[in-house]
């Protein structure tokens, strides 16, 4: 062995040195077990992500086959005519995944090119907010913070953007940025609250962000149900007035496609977060705090302050996703459904993307494709859209359990530290 010495064998590595344990209780910031598990999940290797998707698609195939009428019918006489059964199974699975592809990427059943690639633009449209929110969750992961509050942050951001969008009459060049900024600010404050509570009191961010989801939901619901707050004038539904034209994200590929500027903003956010994490000193400190808060503290980095800053930025990114929804995808008015599950899907996206900006971009695109293609699966093949959700959920499951994936594929365990 040249140069490096191999670390000692496992028993030595695990054996706490006599000095490891301290009589003092004066170490409030020690890395907890949950943090190290979180770190493991967030930093799993790329291969594990690909394999998780593969496994999920495989199990999804079984689900598709099981739920297919013809497969079930042919299973009744499988021993008499096994060919029928296999054919039906193949048809169901092949049909499902080609439908997914047609709905998400390229539709070969229509003639003109614009319609053919329309599914791809739909995928990108769905991917926009997923990427932005995924960045928000992923950035927090890098500081070892679990931001489960995407839903609440999106709702508040959407409400803020919505309010700006229907209240003011401004030229677009001012109105649109103002609405987006309002969304990012609202998201930042809502997430920053959790960061502040963690930094000041040690309150666990998982609990705080989850509870803030409820607080946010009911606050927005209340505001949407009250005349004079957010409710559309003269209406009795919990819904706001539609956004004014000057605050709506313009379409980027012309009116034939639904793809709006939100996706471009998400791409800008990817680049921004990449720079932040890899090239800036703030990102360096965020990573240091995430990897080893005690060492960061001993090196003069203010861990609590870093938590607050991270949550502010994370919330702003999730807020961008909220703006994406309210100012781009659903401009007919703010409702409490505006987050469309993105707040939670973002966690999956961040996990699948290993909390790396480019990984999140890829994972966001994949999930956008699932969303876009799920409809066409249902429409053309009669496959319940739930199956797509099952596949998505299985991906999370396989990613969150790296030892499971490693065991299935007999990958070597990670090197001992």
């Amino acid at each position: 062995m040249s140069g490096t010495e191999t670390p000692p064998p496992a028993p030595h590595a695990q054996k706490p040195t006599p000095e490891g344990e301290e009589a003092s209780g004066a170490r409030p910031q020690g890395p907890s077990r949950s943090q190290s598990v979180l770190r493991e999940i967030a930093s799993g290797n790329a291969l594990a992500g690909v394999l998780a998707v593969f496994l999920a698609v495989l199990v999804g195939s079984v689900m598709i086959a099981l739920t297919d009428e013809e497969v079930r019918a042919s299973a009744g006489y499988v021993f008499a005519r096994p060919g029928d059964f296999l054919q039906a199974t193949w048809d169901a699975i092949w049909g499902a995944y080609t439908a997914l592809f047609r709905g998400a990427v390229y539709n070969d059943r229509v003639d003109d090119f614009a319609t053919q690639i329309r599914p791809l633009t739909e995928t990108l449209k769905f991917a926009g907010p997923l990427i932005a929110a995924g960045l928000g969750v992923g950035l927090a992961f890098r500081a070892s913070l679990f931001n489960i509050g995407g839903r609440g942050q999106m709702l508040l951001a959407g409400a803020a953007a919505g309010w700006v969008s229907f209240t003011f009459d401004l030229p677009m060049i001012v109105h649109l940025p103002l609405a987006i900024l309002a969304a990012m600010l609202a998201g930042a404050l809502w997430a920053g609250l959790a960061g502040l509570l963690k930094a000041r009191t040690g309150a666990h961010e998982v609990i705080v962000t989850i509870m803030l989801n409820y607080v946010g939901y009911y606050l927005v619901f209340y505001a949407l149900s009250r005349q004079g707050l957010l409710q559309a004038p003269g209406s009795s539904n919990p819904k706001s007035a539609p956004a004014k034209e000057s605050a709506i994200l313009p379409d980027v590929l012309g009116e034939r496609f639904n793809l709006h500027l939100g996706f471009v903003l998400a791409l800008v956010a990817v680049a921004g977060v990449w720079w932040l994490l890899n090239r800036s000193t703030l990102g360096y400190r965020i990573r240091a705090v995430g990897e080893n808060p005690t060492a960061a503290r001993a090196s003069g980095i203010d861990v609590g302050r870093t938590y607050v800053v991270v949550m502010l930025i994370a919330g702003a990114l999730v807020g961008l996703a909220g703006a994406n929804q309210v100012l781009g995808t659903v401009t007919s008015g703010v409702t409490t459904d505006l987050d469309a599950g993105i707040g939670f899907d973002a966690i999956t996206v961040a996990l699948l993307g290993r909390s790396r900006p480019l990984g999140i971009l890829g994972a966001g695109l994949l999930f956008g494709a699932f969303k876009a293609g799920g409809f066409s699966m249902q429409a053309s093949e009669g496959i319940p859209v739930d199956i797509v959700l099952v596949v998505q959920s299985l991906i999370v499951l396989f990613i969150a359990a790296p030892p499971l994936v490693r065991a299935i594929f007999r990958l070597p365990a990670k090197e001992a530290k």
């Binding site: 140069g3 064998p9 028993p11 040195t17 301290e22 003092s24 930093s43 360096y284 400190r285």
Partner: protein, 504 residues
């Protein structure tokens, strides 16, 4: 009972932890297993104790091949282990701890405590242990707790006793007492395996010495061998054990600590009325048994303790109340005692670790952005200068050996403009070769006219580096004495006693 380990090989994946090791221990002898941290000593003993199964080779007791599938089998066969970390339940009495796992029960499952108490008393008397069977374990001194472990093994008729780094937690006096106990056990016909990396102890008590390096036996030695010979065998090359240093060139009083008091969040007092000063160009070594306030002292100096009273003045400027960042920026170098927890970010590259406390301003930062090329050039230079053995500067710090990790920390701290160096356990868990290097760096720092505070629980290190020695006991200063104070005196002071003839 005679123990023979024959050609033991144990692999973990591609790593060979024990490579064809053979060992023979006779009744009435102390066989010393000497090797650096990570050489494979503990793995071998875990194989012997049934915690691991050997891939090849066999364990033979009195000519009978044994197949242990767990510690229970090993104990039943007469092997007793005294672990480095005591396997005792603190709130139980001595008797209860000795009974645990081996309870003799009477009618309807009632515990027969009297018989066990009698057994403790008998063993204690036979070897002169002076252990009260009814004492609560957590109220006993560490040395006595260790004796409880020994009693526990003896009460199960152990004929072979394995001591795994038993002196790490002991004061020098307690260490001497343990050596005496080992001799008695030896005379009573027990076979003793003594695992250690401390040369002094080996020579004091061993009948035979087997040296292990990188999982393989590299040689046998006689107790008459010199420290230098043993160290060379252990490391694989000649090592300088003593640090050459000239008389200190003393300057002004740089660090002045006055009436320092440190309390934790629960109100426990960890340090009280600590006053001392260090002059420029001087090494003050803080000696004491682990857990007597050394950690709190170093943390208070760099601002890591929250409840600090009193005054810490560096070159006339007050440090108490300032943030860690301000203190480090004002020129305090800090080598923390636990490099994995406080010194390094394991998932960061060597280069990234080298700027850990300089992420706010130049030379590695320009308008909020990292200056990658400046950092890389710096890292390459330091890798060379500090002899860090790593493939390159992008290697993760967590993958380095202890000695190389420590060199990264030392490189980072010493390459700043220092006005004070605080080094806590600078060579703990570090191989002998790196110890030599780090000691030289500490002395070189002193010779640049920088005041140095070294905390160490190893008397060898204290004696090697110190110009003056401050002994801490239960959070208070026992005394500050010259660096050439005899070890016996220092050892006595570490128990809280203050010899009359000592100059304060």
């Amino acid at each position: 009972m005679k123990l023979v380990l024959r050609n033991i090989t144990k692999r973990f994946g591609s790593l060979v932890a024990n490579d064809d090791i053979s060992l023979e221990v006779l009744p009435g002898e102390v066989h010393c297993l000497l090797g650096e941290n990570g050489a494979g000593k503990s793995t071998l003993m875990n194989v012997l104790y049934g915690l691991y199964q050997a891939d090849e080779g066999e364990i033979v007791l009195d000519d009978v091949v044994q197949h242990f599938s767990g510690p229970g089998d090993a104990m039943a066969a007469g092997i007793g282990m005294v672990h480095q970390h005591f396997m005792l339940i603190p709130v139980f009495t001595v008797t209860e701890n000795v009974m645990l796992g081996n309870e003799s029960t009477g009618f309807a499952g009632t515990l027969d405590a009297d018989a066990a108490r009698e057994r403790v008393r008998e063993i204690s008397a036979r070897f002169g242990f002076h252990v009260d069977p009814d004492a609560i374990v957590e109220e006993l001194p560490v040395g006595v707790q260790q004796r409880v472990e020994i009693i526990k093994a003896l009460s199960r008729d152990a004929e072979i006793l394995v001591f795994d780094e038993p002196t790490a937690v002991l004061t020098p006096q307690e260490t001497d007492e343990l050596m005496e106990i080992m001799r008695q056990l030896k005379e009573a016909g027990k076979a003793i395996v003594f695992i250690t990396h401390k040369l002094r102890e080996v020579r004091a008590v061993a009948d035979r010495i087997t040296v292990i390096r990188r999982g393989a036996v590299v040689g046998e030695a006689q107790p008459t061998a010199t420290n230098a010979d043993l160290a060379a065998l252990m490391v694989g090359r000649p090592v300088e054990l003593t640090v050459h240093k000239d008389a200190p060139q003393l300057g002004d009083e740089s660090l002045v600590v006055k009436d320092l008091r440190v309390v934790d969040a629960l109100g426990h007092v960890h340090l009280d009325s600590i006053s001392f000063e260090i002059r420029a160009g001087e090494v003050l070594a803080v000696a004491g048994v682990q857990g007597n306030g050394q950690t709190e002292l170093t943390e208070a100096l760099v601002g890591l303790q929250d409840h600090v009273e009193g005054s810490i003045k560096l070159d006339g400027k007050e440090l108490v109340g300032k943030s860690v960042r301000r203190i480090l920026d004002s020129g305090v170098g800090f080598i923390p005692e636990d490099r994995q927890a406080d010194g390094l970010v394991g998932g960061f590259s060597i280069a990234e670790n080298l700027m850990l406390n300089r992420s706010f301003r130049s030379p590695f930062v320009k308008r909020g952005a990292l200056r990658g090329d400046a950092l890389e050039a710096f890292a390459r230079e330091k890798l060379q200068e500090y002899d860090v053995r790593a493939p390159d500067i992008h290697t993760h710090a967590g993958k380095l050996s202890g000695g190389n990790q420590q060199k990264v920390v030392v490189a980072r701290e010493l390459s700043r403009d220092l006005r004070l160096l605080v080094a806590a356990q600078p060579t703990r868990g570090v191989d002998v070769g790196s110890i030599e290097f780090i000691h030289k760096q500490v002395i070189a720092t002193r010779d640049r006219g920088i005041p140095v505070l070294v905390v160490s629980t190893e008397l060898d290190e204290v004696v090697a580096l110190a110009d003056r020695v401050m002994v801490l006991y239960r959070g208070q200063v026992v005394g500050i004495v010259p660096g050439d104070t005899p070890r016996e005196t220092l050892g006595l002071m570490m128990t809280g006693e203050r010899p009359k003839d000592v100059v304060a």
